[in-house]
């Protein structure tokens, strides 16, 4: 019996006059990997921020591990969920190592310095994301792909229970997309953890996610297992564009005509 990490009841969310969801119910259980798909402007990012407690919802309830969102202090919440944002570049020079180490902040005491274990943890994920050798680099000189891997490394250093990711494959070359999504699955699609990611590439979503949330952009949505939802009919409905399914090397692939 797996636990619910995130529970959303009857969530209503809108941006200006656009309705993102009217009645969204979600149960994200430990070990699962969810993908959010939808057309441009459907409110995927806003929904992700609302689930993270960074954007107010119109109504409804969001709870982590059985406790309502507003019951958490910001720091305690940062141990429950981590967020990978679409790149928001800092105007400030700082090193890659400092940025990745910032992920430890929710685990430190108020004036606490990082312990040797924290430094080790940061070094370990820098290696896992293939960034070793760049520790001392100014983050402003990194390429788009390196910066995206640094963001992923920061999230891995943070070690939250639930990872909320906004287009984790952005700026990554096709090979790195697969490597990074595999890495994220290894860390979060396991006991005690889960991940939820906004993706634009439906084929990546079908390959890596076991559950999907399809956001239409007019308040309608579909949520369920990938097996149930990844049909040409649903995806044509979602994107308003004809889609067909093909089998390539035993993997299901979508083809947008």
């Amino acid at each position: 019996m797996s636990r619910e990490l995130l529970r959303v009841d009857n969530l209503a969310l809108s941006i200006g006059n656009t309705c993102v969801t009217k009645h969204l119910d979600l149960r994200i259980e430990e070990g699962s990997c969810w993908g959010i798909l939808g057309p441009n402007g459907a409110g995927k990012t806003t929904l992700l921020h609302a689930l993270a407690g960074l954007h107010p919802a119109d109504s409804g309830h969001i709870s982590y591990q059985g406790m309502q969102l507003d019951g958490y202090s910001p720091k305690a919440l940062a141990r429950e969920r981590g967020v990978l944002f679409q790149t928001e570049l800092s105007g400030f020079p700082g090193t890659l190592f400092e940025t990745v180490l910032a992920g430890r902040h929710p685990h430190l005491g108020h004036l606490g310095w990082e312990s040797p274990e924290d430094l080790q943890q940061a070094s370990r994920v820098i290696e896992l994301t293939g960034l070793q050798g760049l520790e001392g680099r100014n983050t402003q000189t990194l390429s788009g792909g390196e910066r995206q891997r640094m963001e992923i490394a920061t999230l891995l250093t943070q070690q939250p229970h639930l990872a909320l990711l906004d287009e984790p494959s952005n700026h990554l070359d096709p090979g790195q997309q697969i490597i990074m999504l595999q890495l994220l699955r290894e860390h979060f699609a396991v006991a005690g953890h889960a991940l939820l990611m906004v993706l634009h590439d439906c084929n990546l979503a079908i390959r890596f996610c076991d559950h999907l949330l399809l956001l239409k952009g007019d308040g309608q949505h579909l949520a369920g297992t990938t097996r149930e939802l990844a049909t040409p009919e649903n995806l044509s409905w979602l994107y308003q564009h004809p889609v067909s399914l093909q089998q390539v090397d035993g993997n299901t692939c979508l083809h947008f005509r």
Binding site: A78, G91, G94, A102, G112
Partner: protein
């Protein structure tokens, strides 16, 4: 594995403490009557009834310690403003705090109020400017780009008013007003106030420093990592403004210390605020002590306003730092 941030920067911080002590020593020894290093220690602690003892205790020590306090406070305010606006080019005066102080002081001088009123008037003017900006920028949603734009416009408004007051003033009063505008430590002979302000500012900023590190990553990321970002922004704004107000009311608007000291430290030790804050305060304090020593000795018996020297020295140093940091970036 990179070394622990504290261990890595301990040698640098120790060096800066030595620099600070050295600058205090140089300032106490230098002047119309030069005092040899060998006698200085004795004179600091033992009243031998000599003129040198009185020079040190009644003139040089108060002024030197005031310079130390004001320099440290300006560097702290610079670090905080830069973190608040996420812009390494922000200085303590960018949001108009010194402009409000200047208008109040020049007004007081024009009305012929006695010297003792100048510092309280400056503080009141700075406080009025802080509150005015907060009220203007706080309507609707508070964000730092709005704060910056409103502050810069407010500062421009103050500077128009300053020109207005200057053009109304009788020629006799102009030198005093210009000295104040440039920043001058000639009247700063009560060091307790700046030192206490420095100590309180240092403690509060160090307490904020982990959150400041995250604030540099951007408001969203800071919030996601557990920082109450809106509360932090307001707190930094108030703290930085009050520190600036205190410095300005003691010594006028001394430029460049709040810009250069944080920059030097960022080049030497990176942008971790737990190191940056004490380090920049030490550099800022030492720089102003040395600049003030030069201001009162270069063309002795006449004195220069110290702000002239910090600007003359600040412009090339700043350009050099800028060049160096861009050189490293590529």
């Amino acid at each position: 594995m990179p070394r622990h941030p504290l261990r890595k920067s301990l040698p640098l911080l120790s060096l800066l403490v030595l620099l600070a002590i050295g600058s205090l020593g140089v300032s106490l020894m230098t002047g119309s009557v030069s005092i040899p290093a060998a006698d200085l220690w004795q004179l600091l602690w033992h009243d031998d009834g000599s003129v040198q003892y009185r020079i040190i205790h009644e003139l040089r020590l108060p002024r030197t310690l005031s310079a130390f306090g004001v320099g440290g406070v300006l560097a702290l305010a610079g670090v905080l403003m830069q973190a608040l606006l996420r812009n390494p080019l922000a200085d303590p005066y960018i949001l108009g705090v010194s402009g409000g102080a200047a208008v109040a002081v020049l007004g007081a001088m024009l009305l012929g109020l006695p010297l003792a009123w100048h510092a309280p008037m400056a503080f009141a003017g700075a406080l009025a400017s802080i509150l005015l900006l907060f009220a203007l920028a706080h309507q609707g949603n508070w964000n730092t780009s709005r704060l910056l734009l409103t502050g810069v416009v407010l500062a421009a408004g103050w500077s128009a008013l300053i020109s207005f007051v200057l053009s109304l003033s009788p020629p006799m009063q102009l030198p005093g007003m210009l000295f104040w505008l440039m920043g001058d430590l000639g009247d700063a002979l009560t060091p307790t106030l700046p030192l206490v302000v420095l100590l309180i500012g240092l403690i509060l900023s160090l307490w904020l420093s982990p959150a400041l590190n995250l604030a540099l990553l951007g408001p969203q990321r800071a919030a996601a990592l557990g920082v109450k970002i809106r509360r932090l922004h307001i707190f930094i704004y108030v703290l930085a403004s009050l520190l600036t107000a205190a410095a300005v009311s003691i010594a006028g608007a001394i430029g460049f210390i709040g810009l250069i000291a944080p920059h030097m430290l960022r080049l030497l030790a990176g942008s971790d605020h737990r190191i940056l804050i004490p380090g920049a305060a030490l550099i800022g304090a030492s720089l102003l002590v040395l600049a003030d020593t030069a201001a009162r000795t270069l063309i002795a018996p006449m004195q220069l306003p110290v702000g002239v020297l910090t600007a003359l020295f600040g412009v090339p140093v700043f350009l050099l730092l800028l060049h160096k940091s861009y050189g490293e970036r590529t």
